[in-house]
Amino acid sequence: MSTTATSPVQGKPQPEKNGGPAVSAKPVTWKLPVTLSVLATLAFIFFGLLGPQGNAKFGVSSGGDFFQLPAIEVPAFLSGIVLSMILLGLAGYALVLKARNNQRPPRWVPAVFTVVFVVAFLIWVVGGARTPSISLAGLIAGSVTLAVPIVFGSLSGVLCERAGVVNIAIEGQLLGGAFTAALVASLTHNPYLGLLAAAVAGALVSMVLALFSIKYVVNQIIVGVVLNVLVSGLTGFLFSTVMQSDPEKYNSPGELPNIDIPVLSGIPVIGPILFKQSVVGYLMYIAVIVIWIGLFKTKWGLRVRAVGEHPQAADTLGIKVNATRFWNVTIGGAVAGIGGSFFTLVAIDSFTKEISGGRGFIALAAMILGRWNPIGAFFAALLFGFADNLQSIVTIIGTPVPSQFMAMLPYVVTVFAVAGLVGRSRPPAADGIPYVKG
């Protein structure tokens, strides 16, 4: 009847077969090629043209290794030029791919770019230092050490958020663990009891978060922030009133011993990282593996992830959503508490105010960067540990860059890593959304 010939499409409709995908792919942007080009140009100017003339020396072996590898010594200026040329080449490749074929560069391009950039940066910094020599083994081993509390913190985040509760209180859990570990270990003269107490303290902080966010449906971010302030205030107060009154009695926890595994710990570079660790360090490796297997290979993990993704679906299958969340948050707190004990039982053998120094928030970033995966979070935490360690080493050997700028490094890395990569990661769908039945 009333068909007016107004549509240009009418009469010759676009043929489309049933089920044919009409979904266009994500458009390729200029973001990556341009960023790479800018960084490569900066590298060429600073690391290359303005590079130091001396040699940079990197020690590979440490004293205890059962065989010694010679130190690597490279001319700083020449390698600066060569490496920045490689960077320019990679950036150019990405530009050409985008301009000619409108293609995204393959995944290895940004990865190789990052590695080459970091190496060039290291050579530049070390080559220009007063004592142009650092121990590579020490740099990496130190990174792992500094990463330990961050790894525990991010594991806590993974456990909570996979079940759908945002855990901003990691900082408070670390701090609570650190304080309790110091106090209990001092009183009992047993650092292992301190370790246990740290886990309990972290779990208690977490239970408050769980109670308010799950039972009373209070905004999870707010509860988390308040808990951080609460723990910070409480430990600060107890530190100055109790611990300071008699540090001998209350604040000398003693150290957890380092355990060297014979033979294996003598392997250069890898030995000190894997087989020359404190008890907490070994626990870290175990925790990463156990939580990964637990989350992705077991019945428990399947249920936890379902609760974090689609709590209603889990509920209709007879899974107790809020109980699952409660216990996950509690376990997460215990894990973070153990991480906190690292400060007072391994790194420094006494507690001071704010000893965790914001690492709980870095842990949160590591969790996001690691895409809510324990192994990803581990490597992300290592990255922050590396940046942290690098800045302290570089400050010691004396470089042209002001130390204040180097001290910013871990935080700059945090911002860039999360901002640059978070767009591609996807949090659990029900993360931060309380589940109320009916």
Binding site: M1, T3, T4, P8, A22, S24, K299, T316, G318, R426
Partner: protein, 563 residues
């Protein structure tokens, strides 16, 4: 599947505060039957089923299985008793695989709690083969089409040995073809001994598969009906009074084309082209209905016209004036009336009064405002006339809009949008979740606006509504325009087009099928005839007429007066 069970609900009452959702409901589901619960939206069907599935605790009454009373403390208990449920909104974790979703909650494990998904995969293949489901156990749910996701839900229930399967509005999200397949699956399940409780308000489907029909209205059972009863009979039982299921609509009298969309592309934040190169025009005095399964770009298309979408390319002209790039306010001022698809989210401010809601787009000008002050008397006066004109059932215009029923809320939105001179009227899902009485009224108003000489665009996922209102029908699939066909095009042709088949192929295909009419695709063309004259029609005996029948589409909505 040897054990069959008899399920009985006795005097089930469920109250939420002062609201009585279910009032002493008695239902008996005999073993191996398809038992339909028929009722309008909000009649209390879903509440009843949630009680049966253990999600709600009944205030009064009891559930009997094989004549023994049982109490369910949660869905786990219901499942253990052999009751499975496919919810209207699927309960599937999108980032899990089919096997993980099926396993969830009833996992087979190796020693130490490790998952044994191989066992689940085997069970899925077994069921999939038995019913011809063709489901890959390792596919991710989010990659699967809606129809397949629904089969996963059915598999989930069958793996748990469900003897009674509850299907809650299962066809709401399906294309007509998927719907036919689902009805087939239901018959197969029945022949294997599974009883089915089928919740629906779509009369055609109900008549096609049910053995027994229980009609529920306002939380009460108002009677049982025979599937052979005519659609008008069923409709009046459901609504509680005689309803006119046909819309008296004069043929359109299209004039010049004043609204034109050219090469419109909308890019979602994800980078996906959710509307992809669409061109069409609407003449003054005609209704263009945009059909398609939900989520194929309809929402984005209407939002782009209104200026609510950010990344839009192409051109949208109204009386030769470019609308693209203008602010929403400018678009409204250009004379575009817009009824959004979700009235409670985008159409109304629930806590504001009806009177205030009626002037949301004109609060800042005469006669309602003078300088910086508003004139409450004028606002109330306006409300009074509109409430009367649009038959909004409310004691006062001062009441909060959120307290109204769905149908009355929609009347308020429609009253606001139609109360100024329009040059284009767009209504998205104009009667979703609206009672039958209001549907008649709203449809009449839309047609009146057309006869007034306004170009009208209707977006609806309900094929019945499309057929009833349209002068021309545009079908969207995955953001693209499959084609624009005249009103009176066969239901089966439209159904194929909604699945992406081009109009020519769809017509050839539909014609081919009619040569050998199958049981499943019966009701397609029938509704084009007036079923009131043909009350005894049954699915099996009625071969559909040749498609496409070019006739008045006015009686098309008979099968589904609701929504």
């Amino acid at each position: 599947m040897v054990r069959v069970l008899k399920l009985e609900l006795k005097g089930i009452t469920k109250r939420f505060g002062s609201l009585v959702a279910n009032d002493h409901i008695d239902v008996v589901v005999e073993p191996g039957q398809i038992h339909c619960l028929l009722g309008e939206n909000g009649a209390g069907k879903s509440t009843l089923m949630n009680v049966l599935y253990g999600l709600y605790e009944p205030t009064e009454g009891e559930i009997l299985i094989d004549d023994k009373p049982v109490t369910f403390r949660g869905p786990g208990d219901a499942m253990a008793a052999g009751i499975g449920m496919v919810h209207q909104h699927f309960m599937l974790v999108p980032v899990f695989t089919v096997a993980e979703n099926v396993a969830l909650g009833a996992e087979t494990t190796k020693t130490g709690g490790f998952l044994d998904l191989e066992d689940t995969r085997r069970k899925i293949r077994e069921i999939s083969d038995r019913y011809g489901f063709d489901v890959d156990p390792d596919a991710l749910i989010e990659d699967l089409p809606v129809g397949v996701q629904q089969r996963v839900e059915i598999i989930k229930a069958l793996v748990r040995d469900a003897k009674v399967l509850i299907l809650d509005e299962p066809t709401a999200v399906l294309t007509p073809q998927d719907t036919d397949e689902l009805l087939d699956i239901m018959r197969q399940l029945k022949s294997h001994g599974t009883s089915i409780v089928f919740i629906s308000h779509k009369l055609r489907e109900v008549k096609a598969v049910s053995d027994t029909i229980t009609v529920i209205r306002r939380g009460k059972v108002v009677g049982t009906a025979d599937p052979g009863a005519s659609t008008t009979e069923l409709a009046s039982m459901m609504v509680g009074r005689a309803v006119s299921l046909t819309l008296d609509k004069a043929p359109a009298n299209p004039q010049e084309t004043t609204f034109e969309v050219k090469d419109l592309t909308v890019i979602a934040p994800s980078g996906q082209h959710v509307v992809d190169g669409i061109s069409f025009g609407i003449a003054r005095g005609e209704i263009l209905a945009v059909a398609g399964v939900q989520g194929n770009g309809q929402t984005e298309l209407t939002e782009a016209i209104l200026g609510l979408q950010e990344r839009v390319h192409g051109s949208i002209t109204l009386d030769g004036e470019e609308l693209l790039g203008s602010s929403v306010k400018d678009v409204l001022n250009a004379g575009v009336g817009f009824v959004p698809e979700d009235r409670s989210l985008d159409g109304l401010i629930g806590t504001f009064s009806i009177a205030e809601n009626l002037i949301l787009d004109r609060y800042d000008r005469a006669p309602f405002a003078k300088g910086i002050s508003m004139s409450p008397a004028k606002v109330l006066e306006n409300a009074k006339t509109r409430i009367e004109e649009f038959d909004v059932r409310t004691p006062s215009g001062m009441l909060a809009a959120g307290t109204l029923s769905g149908g009355n809320q929609q009347k308020v939105v429609m009253a606001r949008e139609l109360s100024r001179p329009l040059r284009l009227f767009i209504a998205s899902q104009p009667t979703r979740g609206v009672d039958v009485g209001s549907i008649e009224f709203l449809h009449k108003r839309i047609v009146a606006e057309r006869d007034h000489g306004t170009p009208v665009m209707i977006v609806s996922t309900e094929l019945d509504e499309v057929i009833e209102l349209a002068d021309r029908i545009a079908v969207l699939y995955k953001g693209r325009l499959v084609g624009i066909v005249p009103a009176g095009t066969g239901r089966d042709v439209l159904g194929l087009m909604m699945a992406g088949v081009s109009p020519d192929e769809a017509q050839a295909d539909a014609a081919g099928k009619h040569a050998a009419p199958s049981l499943s695709e019966n009701p397609a063309g029938n509704a084009a005839e007036n079923p009131a004259e043909n009350p005894a029609e049954t699915p099996a005996t009625n071969p559909a007429p040749a498609a496409p029948s070019v006739q008045e589409p006015r009686s098309g909505a008979v099968g589904d007066p609701h929504e």
